[in-house]
């Protein structure tokens, strides 16, 4: 079986290399039959990667410990589901997943590009094949999932128990769909730049692909935060960990692109900027994979020990060289056809939004690589830690939040001053009232109250946008409010889908502000029958119990929770001690409401039956999770294909006014 897997990957590498050469040749000679052959090679490579993946899955499912990868990530006591998710639980498997997902994307991209811009097919095939070749090279040399052991163990080590969780089962593949998805926009843009003759540099074709990758990255980050919160048992969901930052950086750049591409679509401006964003987003996706796979995060010395780091850096340098080299070659052709008409316009708000997103991405990049750079230069790794990120990124995030409210109120090209005061009156009043109300009610710190006021302003602008749209439809068509709302959203999917995404981000922002500014915690050591109060909750400790399950000895703290006199029921907080691996995991006692989460960790216990509990009340956590769901709804609406406009056209006779000769269909 291992031989079949190895052969499949080697053959896939040969085919990908062939597709790279054939794609480049087809682009140069403009010969369709060579491009078709490159496409077939990529299809065959995808099929062979599928064979390799199937071999690995069978080996994992049957616990074939002759494979080193299986022995390292599967154990006899591990549930079958996690045996299978071990596919992406280790480095080699996750690289195979990268290659497999990329092949799927490549075939889909070739299909759509062939329909939309046939001239780009050879270039897209070549760039995707080049990227595939890199990952297949790793899989066939330094990171083979099919390496065998001459003396297989009777039981494997199994995965880290922290990874044995449903959120962790879906978090990595979702993140990978995002990381890998950024390859397609990069390939399209490179192909357009190489072939010339595409004034938009392929950016407009790449937009939908990048939006999808952005959505997957968003969900990957969201699943990861949920996992961190429910599994790691520290009460938080985001720690500015380098692995988290690795996914955040391309997300920030992709978010900037999603906004600036609208200016290119409508005004034929910012083409150069968008090209740079697409290349950067792809570069950061490779950089993120490099960070998490090279071991460079823990120490620069582990980087030098790991061959993967050098491979990734070489590929990253090559990809950036190709991308930026092509952009430089076509730089003059990408010049904007128009200029900003006015400083106060939707375009200028988007430009400012891009500056803030890029500044945030740069700050995260700097903070993430600082330990590596400082160790390389000074011999000592200096970790900047969460305070750096909080001080730099939080003000930028608040600026972005403000623009999220201001942007929709501004018209394209030129915001009329006459109308601005009317636009801002109601949302501004909502923000001021909310801020004054919160400060008057004694909400402190004042910064949090002001941040909530900003959220109220943004929420009011979104509500106003929907209300105005509905009112206009009702006035023109006499529809019911519900019908008008549905029709408004479906007819203007990108605009209103975008507003729904903003609403999701707003919920997320409220949750982050609430849980960061108002979280409380305390430690309490209790004997059975004693209780501890936190916030409006009272937690009674009813004693310890223990059980053995799934290869782990669990110590269970039995709890009963009350809110005032109301009994909220029984809860359990556990510590699971995995006897073989000596790992320990935490199952927290968690009670979630839209208002707050009660989060109880069993921090320790004594032989006489007392327990030390860490109690936390995290306000508005549920808003973060709800924000992810709303974001999904908005993103799905925004990604739905638009019907092509079928304008009523009447070309006037020479000398006749053009007014009214074009109707885009109104609302």
């Amino acid at each position: 079986m291992a031989d079949l897997g190895r052969f499949a990957l080697l053959a896939a590498l040969a085919l990908a290399l062939y597709a790279l050469v054939a794609g480049m040749l087809a682009g140069r000679t403009r010969r369709a039959e060579i491009a078709a052959s490159a496409g077939r090679a990529l299809g065959a490579a995808a099929a062979l990667e599928g064979v390799a993946a199937a071999v690995l899955l069978v080996a994992l499912g049957t616990r074939d410990y002759t494979l080193r990868y299986v022995a390292a990530h599967v154990s006899n006591a591990q549930p079958l589901l996690y045996d299978l998710t071990a596919f992406w639980g280790g480095m080699e498997g996750s690289l195979l997943l990268w290659a497999l997902v990329l092949s799927g994307y490549t075939l889909a991209a070739l299909r759509t590009v062939r329909r939309q811009r046939p001239a780009l097919v050879p270039g897209v095939a070549a760039v995707c094949a080049g990227t595939s070749s890199f990952f297949l090279l790793l899989l066939t040399t330094v990171a083979s999932p099919f390496a065998t052991s001459p003396f297989p163990p009777s039981d494997g080590r199994g995965m880290n128990p922290l990874l044995l969780n449903p959120w962790m089962a879906i978090h990595p593949p979702t993140l990978y769909l995002g990381y890998v998805g950024l390859t397609v926009p990069f390939a399209i843009v490179c192909a357009a730049l190489a072939s010339g003759g595409h004034d938009d540099a392929g950016v407009l074709v790449a937009r939908r692909w990048l939006l999808w990758a952005w959505y997957c990255l968003s969900m990957g980050l969201w699943f990861g935060a949920k996992w961190s919160y429910v599994v790691l048992g520290w009460g938080g969901y985001w720690a500015w960990d380098p692995v988290e930052n690795a996914a955040l950086m391309p997300w920030l750049v992709a978010t900037a692109f999603i906004h600036s591409v609208m200016i290119q679509e409508r005004r034929e401006m910012l083409t150069r900027w968008n090209v740079v964003l697409v290349i950067l987003a792809f570069g950061l996706s490779i950089f993120g994979t490099f960070l998490t796979r090279s071991g460079v995060l823990s120490s620069i010395h582990s980087f030098t020990q790991s061959p993967l780091g050098a491979y990734f850096l070489t590929f990253l340098a090559l990809a950036l060289l190709v991308g930026f080299g092509l952009a430089a070659w076509r730089w003059d052709r990408l010049r904007s056809r128009h200029e900003l008409d006015a400083a106060l316009s939707r375009e200028s708000a988007f430009v400012l939004n891009n500056v803030l997103f890029l500044a945030a991405a740069f700050a995260v990049f700097l903070g993430t690589v600082f330990p590596v750079v400082s160790e390389a230069l000074g011999g000592r790794a200096i970790n900047v830690g969460p305070p750096f990120f909080d001080h730099v990124v939080v003000p930028l995030a608040l600026g972005i939040l403000l623009l999220m409210g201001v942007g929709p109120l501004l018209a394209w090209r030129r915001a009329s001053l006459d109308h601005l005061h009317r636009q801002f009156l109601a949302p501004g009043a909502a923000g001021v009232l909310a801020g004054a109300g919160l400060l008057g009610a004694g909400v402190r710190p004042a910064g949090a109250a002001l941040a909530f006021a900003l959220c109220a302003f943004v929420a009011a602008t979104i509500a106003l946008e929907f209300a105005r749209g509905v009112r206009v439809r009702r006035a023109h068509r006499g529809e019911s409010a519900v019908w008008a709302l549905g029709a408004l959203v479906l007819r203007n999917r990108r605009r209103y889908g975008g507003y729904i995404v903003h609403l999701g981000m707003l919920l997320l922002a409220c949750g982050i502000i609430g849980s960061s500014a108002f979280a409380t915690q305390r430690l309490a050591t209790l004997a059975p029958g004693q209780d501890a109060a936190i916030g409006e909750y009272r937690v009674r400790f009813d004693g310890l119990a223990q059980e053995t399950r799934g290869g782990a000895l669990s110590i269970i703290g039995r709890l009963r929770v009350f809110a005032g006199t109301r009994d909220l029921g029984a809860f359990e907080a556990r510590r699971n001690l995995f006897l073989r691996s000596q790992d320990a995991t935490t199952d927290v006692a968690l009670r979630s409401t839209p208002r707050d989460d009660l989060y109880v960790i069993l921090a320790g216990w004594t032989a006489d039956g007392r327990a030390t509990l860490r109690l936390l009340v995290n306000p508005m956590m549920m808003w973060i999770w709800a924000g992810g769901l709303v974001l999904t709804a908005g993103a799905v609406i925004a990604m739905l294909p638009e019907r092509r406009a079928a304008p009523q056209v009447a070309v006037p006779a020479p000398g006749v006014s053009a007014g009214g000769a074009w109707s885009p269909g109104g609302l």
Binding site: R30, E265, A411, H419, N492, A645, G659, W662
Partner: protein, 81 residues
Amino acid sequence: MVVLAAAAALWVLAPLRRPAVAAEEETEREGLLRERDSISRSLRDLELDRATGKLSDADYAVLAARYRARALAVLRRLDAR
């Protein structure tokens, strides 16, 4: 495995045995259609901005006239093809 490799190679190389065909280029028409769609979207946004009070009638008239002029130029070129 050898048979599998040979079959894959034959399948991949088969298109090369066909007579040479020039690759399809993006036609000018596709570019014009794309521009037409872009103008259509912009005009729809403009209408929505005016209807929801973000744009005065005077600004709307100026901006919409520019877009319509561009649209007509595109449509004339499309008709001429």
